[in-house]
Amino acid sequence: MDVMSQLQRQWLEHSAFLRKEGYLDDQFEQLQKLQDESSPDFVIEVVSIFFDDSEKLLSNMARALEQKVVDFKQVDAHVHQFKGSSASIGAMRVKNVCIEFRNYCEAQNLEECLRCTRKLQFEYSVLKNQLEYLFRLEQQIRAAGG
Protein backbone atom coordinates (compact mmCIF):
# COMPACT_ATOMS: atom_id res chain seq x y z
CA MET A 1 0.00 0.00 0.00
CA ASP A 2 1.45 3.37 -0.93
CA VAL A 3 1.86 6.16 1.59
CA MET A 4 -1.23 8.03 0.46
CA SER A 5 -3.56 5.05 0.74
CA GLN A 6 -2.08 4.20 4.11
CA LEU A 7 -2.64 7.71 5.41
CA GLN A 8 -6.16 7.81 4.04
CA ARG A 9 -6.93 4.50 5.65
CA GLN A 10 -5.60 5.74 8.98
CA TRP A 11 -7.72 8.85 8.63
CA LEU A 12 -10.85 6.84 7.90
CA GLU A 13 -10.17 4.45 10.77
CA HIS A 14 -9.58 7.25 13.21
CA SER A 15 -12.71 9.10 12.08
CA ALA A 16 -14.75 5.94 12.47
CA PHE A 17 -13.24 5.35 15.90
CA LEU A 18 -14.14 8.85 17.06
CA ARG A 19 -17.72 8.36 15.90
CA LYS A 20 -18.06 4.90 17.37
CA GLU A 21 -16.68 5.89 20.76
CA GLY A 22 -19.01 8.87 20.89
CA TYR A 23 -16.33 11.54 20.88
CA LEU A 24 -17.95 13.06 17.83
CA ASP A 25 -21.48 12.94 16.46
CA ASP A 26 -23.26 13.84 13.19
CA GLN A 27 -22.70 17.53 13.72
CA PHE A 28 -18.97 17.09 13.06
CA GLU A 29 -19.87 15.58 9.70
CA GLN A 30 -22.04 18.63 9.00
CA LEU A 31 -18.96 20.79 9.53
CA GLN A 32 -16.93 18.64 7.17
CA LYS A 33 -19.62 19.06 4.53
CA LEU A 34 -19.33 22.83 4.85
CA GLN A 35 -15.64 22.70 3.99
CA ASP A 36 -14.87 23.30 0.32
CA GLU A 37 -12.16 24.52 -2.04
CA SER A 38 -12.80 28.13 -1.09
CA SER A 39 -12.23 27.32 2.58
CA PRO A 40 -10.11 24.16 2.79
CA ASP A 41 -9.26 24.77 6.45
CA PHE A 42 -12.75 25.51 7.66
CA VAL A 43 -13.01 22.62 10.10
CA ILE A 44 -9.58 23.24 11.59
CA GLU A 45 -10.39 26.95 11.95
CA VAL A 46 -13.70 26.36 13.70
CA VAL A 47 -12.20 23.75 15.99
CA SER A 48 -9.30 26.09 16.85
CA ILE A 49 -11.79 28.74 17.93
CA PHE A 50 -13.55 26.05 19.94
CA PHE A 51 -10.28 25.10 21.65
CA ASP A 52 -9.54 28.73 22.57
CA ASP A 53 -13.04 29.36 23.89
CA SER A 54 -13.09 26.06 25.79
CA GLU A 55 -9.88 26.77 27.61
CA LYS A 56 -11.20 30.15 28.72
CA LEU A 57 -14.48 28.63 29.86
CA LEU A 58 -12.80 25.83 31.81
CA SER A 59 -10.59 28.36 33.54
CA ASN A 60 -13.59 30.57 34.34
CA MET A 61 -15.51 27.61 35.74
CA ALA A 62 -12.63 26.59 37.98
CA ARG A 63 -12.22 30.12 39.27
CA ALA A 64 -15.92 30.53 39.95
CA LEU A 65 -15.94 27.30 41.96
CA GLU A 66 -12.97 28.45 44.05
CA GLN A 67 -14.80 31.46 45.42
CA LYS A 68 -15.69 31.54 49.11
CA VAL A 69 -19.31 32.00 48.16
CA VAL A 70 -19.91 30.14 44.93
CA ASP A 71 -22.18 31.81 42.41
CA PHE A 72 -23.76 28.70 40.88
CA LYS A 73 -25.66 30.76 38.34
CA GLN A 74 -22.38 32.08 37.03
CA VAL A 75 -20.89 28.58 36.88
CA ASP A 76 -24.03 27.41 35.07
CA ALA A 77 -23.71 30.23 32.55
CA HIS A 78 -20.19 29.07 31.66
CA VAL A 79 -21.28 25.43 31.41
CA HIS A 80 -24.26 26.43 29.27
CA GLN A 81 -21.95 28.22 26.89
CA PHE A 82 -19.58 25.28 26.77
CA LYS A 83 -22.50 22.97 26.09
CA GLY A 84 -23.56 25.14 23.19
CA SER A 85 -20.20 25.33 21.51
CA SER A 86 -19.41 21.65 22.01
CA ALA A 87 -22.78 20.73 20.49
CA SER A 88 -22.01 22.98 17.53
CA ILE A 89 -18.85 21.11 16.62
CA GLY A 90 -20.27 17.70 17.42
CA ALA A 91 -18.27 17.08 20.59
CA MET A 92 -20.81 14.69 22.03
CA ARG A 93 -19.01 13.41 25.13
CA VAL A 94 -18.06 16.92 26.22
CA LYS A 95 -21.61 18.07 25.62
CA ASN A 96 -23.01 15.23 27.73
CA VAL A 97 -20.77 16.09 30.68
CA CYS A 98 -22.02 19.67 30.39
CA ILE A 99 -25.61 18.46 30.59
CA GLU A 100 -24.82 16.50 33.77
CA PHE A 101 -22.89 19.45 35.15
CA ARG A 102 -25.81 21.82 34.70
CA ASN A 103 -28.03 19.63 36.84
CA TYR A 104 -25.53 19.90 39.70
CA CYS A 105 -25.31 23.65 39.25
CA GLU A 106 -29.06 23.84 39.61
CA ALA A 107 -28.88 21.70 42.76
CA GLN A 108 -26.01 23.88 43.99
CA ASN A 109 -24.01 20.78 44.80
CA LEU A 110 -20.41 21.97 45.11
CA GLU A 111 -18.85 18.54 45.48
CA GLU A 112 -20.45 17.24 42.31
CA CYS A 113 -19.72 20.44 40.43
CA LEU A 114 -16.05 20.05 41.24
CA ARG A 115 -16.15 16.45 40.08
CA CYS A 116 -17.80 17.54 36.84
CA THR A 117 -15.13 20.15 36.26
CA ARG A 118 -12.49 17.47 36.49
CA LYS A 119 -14.47 15.19 34.19
CA LEU A 120 -14.99 17.98 31.72
CA GLN A 121 -11.32 18.86 31.71
CA PHE A 122 -10.49 15.23 31.08
CA GLU A 123 -12.97 14.72 28.24
CA TYR A 124 -11.92 17.98 26.66
CA SER A 125 -8.21 17.07 26.78
CA VAL A 126 -8.85 13.67 25.24
CA LEU A 127 -10.97 15.18 22.48
CA LYS A 128 -8.33 17.80 21.76
CA ASN A 129 -5.64 15.16 21.38
CA GLN A 130 -7.87 13.03 19.15
CA LEU A 131 -8.74 15.93 16.86
CA GLU A 132 -5.18 17.16 16.68
CA TYR A 133 -4.15 13.70 15.56
CA LEU A 134 -6.91 13.70 12.91
CA PHE A 135 -5.78 17.10 11.64
CA ARG A 136 -2.13 15.98 11.52
CA LEU A 137 -3.19 13.08 9.31
CA GLU A 138 -5.07 15.52 7.06
CA GLN A 139 -1.98 17.68 6.75
CA GLN A 140 0.12 14.67 5.86
CA ILE A 141 -2.41 13.59 3.25
CA ARG A 142 -2.39 17.04 1.72
CA ALA A 143 1.40 17.14 1.74
CA ALA A 144 1.44 13.77 -0.03
CA GLY A 145 -0.71 15.28 -2.76
CA GLY A 146 -4.23 14.59 -1.55
Binding site: S15, Q30, I49, G84, S88
Partner: protein, 155 residues
Protein backbone atom coordinates in the same frame (compact mmCIF):
# COMPACT_ATOMS: atom_id res chain seq x y z
CA UNK B 1 -9.51 12.01 1.33
CA UNK B 2 -12.90 12.25 2.94
CA UNK B 3 -15.87 12.05 0.63
CA UNK B 4 -16.21 15.80 0.40
CA UNK B 5 -19.86 15.76 -0.49
CA UNK B 6 -20.40 19.24 -1.83
CA UNK B 7 -23.55 21.15 -1.05
CA UNK B 8 -25.01 20.64 -4.50
CA UNK B 9 -25.05 16.84 -4.39
CA UNK B 10 -26.34 16.83 -0.90
CA UNK B 11 -29.19 19.14 -1.66
CA UNK B 12 -30.05 17.15 -4.76
CA UNK B 13 -30.55 14.13 -2.51
CA UNK B 14 -33.14 15.83 -0.37
CA UNK B 15 -34.92 17.27 -3.38
CA UNK B 16 -34.18 20.88 -2.59
CA UNK B 17 -31.95 21.48 -5.59
CA UNK B 18 -34.94 22.63 -7.66
CA UNK B 19 -35.34 25.63 -5.39
CA UNK B 20 -31.69 26.33 -5.03
CA UNK B 21 -30.08 25.22 -8.25
CA UNK B 22 -26.53 25.82 -9.17
CA UNK B 23 -25.40 26.24 -5.60
CA UNK B 24 -21.91 25.39 -4.58
CA UNK B 25 -18.38 26.55 -5.37
CA UNK B 26 -19.29 30.19 -5.10
CA UNK B 27 -22.10 30.28 -7.64
CA UNK B 28 -25.33 31.90 -6.60
CA UNK B 29 -28.70 30.56 -7.58
CA UNK B 30 -31.64 32.56 -8.78
CA UNK B 31 -33.51 31.71 -5.62
CA UNK B 32 -30.85 32.69 -3.11
CA UNK B 33 -29.30 35.53 -5.10
CA UNK B 34 -29.74 38.85 -3.34
CA UNK B 35 -31.03 37.31 -0.16
CA UNK B 36 -29.31 38.95 2.77
CA UNK B 37 -29.02 37.62 6.28
CA UNK B 38 -27.94 38.71 9.73
CA UNK B 39 -26.43 36.30 12.24
CA UNK B 40 -26.99 37.36 15.84
CA UNK B 41 -24.99 35.19 18.23
CA UNK B 42 -22.47 35.77 20.99
CA UNK B 43 -20.57 32.54 20.44
CA UNK B 44 -17.61 32.67 18.02
CA UNK B 45 -17.96 29.03 17.02
CA UNK B 46 -21.61 29.46 16.09
CA UNK B 47 -20.93 32.74 14.33
CA UNK B 48 -18.44 31.02 12.07
CA UNK B 49 -20.62 27.99 11.38
CA UNK B 50 -23.83 29.92 10.73
CA UNK B 51 -22.04 32.39 8.50
CA UNK B 52 -20.48 29.55 6.50
CA UNK B 53 -23.79 27.73 6.06
CA UNK B 54 -25.26 30.95 4.64
CA UNK B 55 -22.20 31.65 2.51
CA UNK B 56 -22.27 28.17 1.00
CA UNK B 57 -25.86 28.79 -0.04
CA UNK B 58 -24.81 32.02 -1.72
CA UNK B 59 -26.34 34.29 0.91
CA UNK B 60 -24.59 37.51 1.81
CA UNK B 61 -24.46 37.82 5.55
CA UNK B 62 -23.30 39.91 8.46
CA UNK B 63 -22.56 38.85 12.00
CA UNK B 64 -23.23 40.69 15.26
CA UNK B 65 -22.61 39.61 18.83
CA UNK B 66 -25.80 40.48 20.64
CA UNK B 67 -29.34 41.82 20.37
CA UNK B 68 -28.33 45.42 20.89
CA UNK B 69 -25.91 45.35 17.96
CA UNK B 70 -28.70 43.87 15.83
CA UNK B 71 -31.11 46.63 16.84
CA UNK B 72 -28.48 49.35 16.29
CA UNK B 73 -27.77 47.98 12.82
CA UNK B 74 -31.44 48.33 11.93
CA UNK B 75 -31.67 51.77 13.53
CA UNK B 76 -28.96 52.97 11.19
CA UNK B 77 -30.99 51.89 8.20
CA UNK B 78 -29.85 48.36 7.47
CA UNK B 79 -32.29 45.67 6.49
CA UNK B 80 -32.07 41.93 5.95
CA UNK B 81 -34.34 39.29 4.47
CA UNK B 82 -33.45 36.84 7.19
CA UNK B 83 -32.29 37.17 10.78
CA UNK B 84 -30.89 34.20 12.68
CA UNK B 85 -31.44 35.14 16.31
CA UNK B 86 -29.77 33.35 19.19
CA UNK B 87 -31.65 33.41 22.49
CA UNK B 88 -29.04 33.72 25.22
CA UNK B 89 -26.80 36.70 24.66
CA UNK B 90 -25.28 39.35 26.91
CA UNK B 91 -26.34 43.01 26.81
CA UNK B 92 -29.62 42.24 25.04
CA UNK B 93 -30.98 38.72 24.56
CA UNK B 94 -32.88 37.30 21.59
CA UNK B 95 -36.31 37.73 23.11
CA UNK B 96 -35.85 41.41 23.82
CA UNK B 97 -34.14 42.05 20.50
CA UNK B 98 -36.94 40.36 18.57
CA UNK B 99 -39.55 42.42 20.41
CA UNK B 100 -37.64 45.63 19.74
CA UNK B 101 -37.16 44.85 16.05
CA UNK B 102 -40.84 44.05 15.55
CA UNK B 103 -41.77 47.23 17.41
CA UNK B 104 -39.50 49.10 15.00
CA UNK B 105 -41.52 47.68 12.13
CA UNK B 106 -38.92 45.17 10.95
CA UNK B 107 -40.71 42.63 8.76
CA UNK B 108 -37.77 40.30 8.06
CA UNK B 109 -38.07 36.59 8.65
CA UNK B 110 -36.68 36.16 12.15
CA UNK B 111 -35.70 32.60 13.00
CA UNK B 112 -34.90 31.89 16.62
CA UNK B 113 -31.94 29.56 16.97
CA UNK B 114 -31.38 28.14 20.39
CA UNK B 115 -30.19 25.19 22.36
CA UNK B 116 -32.79 22.71 23.53
CA UNK B 117 -33.86 24.62 26.56
CA UNK B 118 -35.37 22.99 29.61
CA UNK B 119 -37.51 26.06 29.93
CA UNK B 120 -40.47 25.59 27.56
CA UNK B 121 -41.91 28.81 28.87
CA UNK B 122 -38.88 30.69 27.63
CA UNK B 123 -39.24 29.13 24.18
CA UNK B 124 -42.90 30.17 24.07
CA UNK B 125 -41.91 33.66 25.11
CA UNK B 126 -39.34 33.73 22.32
CA UNK B 127 -41.94 32.73 19.72
CA UNK B 128 -44.39 35.27 21.13
CA UNK B 129 -41.79 38.02 20.81
CA UNK B 130 -42.28 37.79 17.04
CA UNK B 131 -40.41 34.84 15.57
CA UNK B 132 -41.42 33.34 12.24
CA UNK B 133 -39.60 30.12 12.93
CA UNK B 134 -37.59 28.34 15.57
CA UNK B 135 -34.75 25.90 15.06
CA UNK B 136 -32.82 24.01 17.67
CA UNK B 137 -29.09 24.40 17.75
CA UNK B 138 -26.83 23.29 16.32
CA UNK B 139 -27.88 24.80 13.04
CA UNK B 140 -27.27 22.69 9.95
CA UNK B 141 -27.70 23.25 6.25
CA UNK B 142 -31.01 21.28 6.15
CA UNK B 143 -32.43 23.40 8.97
CA UNK B 144 -31.45 26.58 7.22
CA UNK B 145 -32.96 25.37 3.97
CA UNK B 146 -36.30 24.86 5.72
CA UNK B 147 -36.09 28.43 7.04
CA UNK B 148 -35.20 29.69 3.57
CA UNK B 149 -38.30 28.16 2.08
CA UNK B 150 -40.21 30.65 4.19
CA UNK B 151 -38.11 33.52 2.87
CA UNK B 152 -38.72 32.42 -0.71
CA UNK B 153 -42.45 32.29 -0.16
CA UNK B 154 -42.33 35.81 1.19
CA UNK B 155 -40.14 37.43 -1.49
Amino acid sequence: MSSNINTENWMKDIGVLDHLSGVGEGSTSAATKNITALVVDDDSVNQMIHSKILENLGIQNQVVRNGKEAVDLHSSGNNFDLILMDMDMPVMNGIEATRKLRAMGVRSIIAGVSTCTRDELEQKEFMAAGLDDFQEKPLTTPKLVSILQKVNKKC
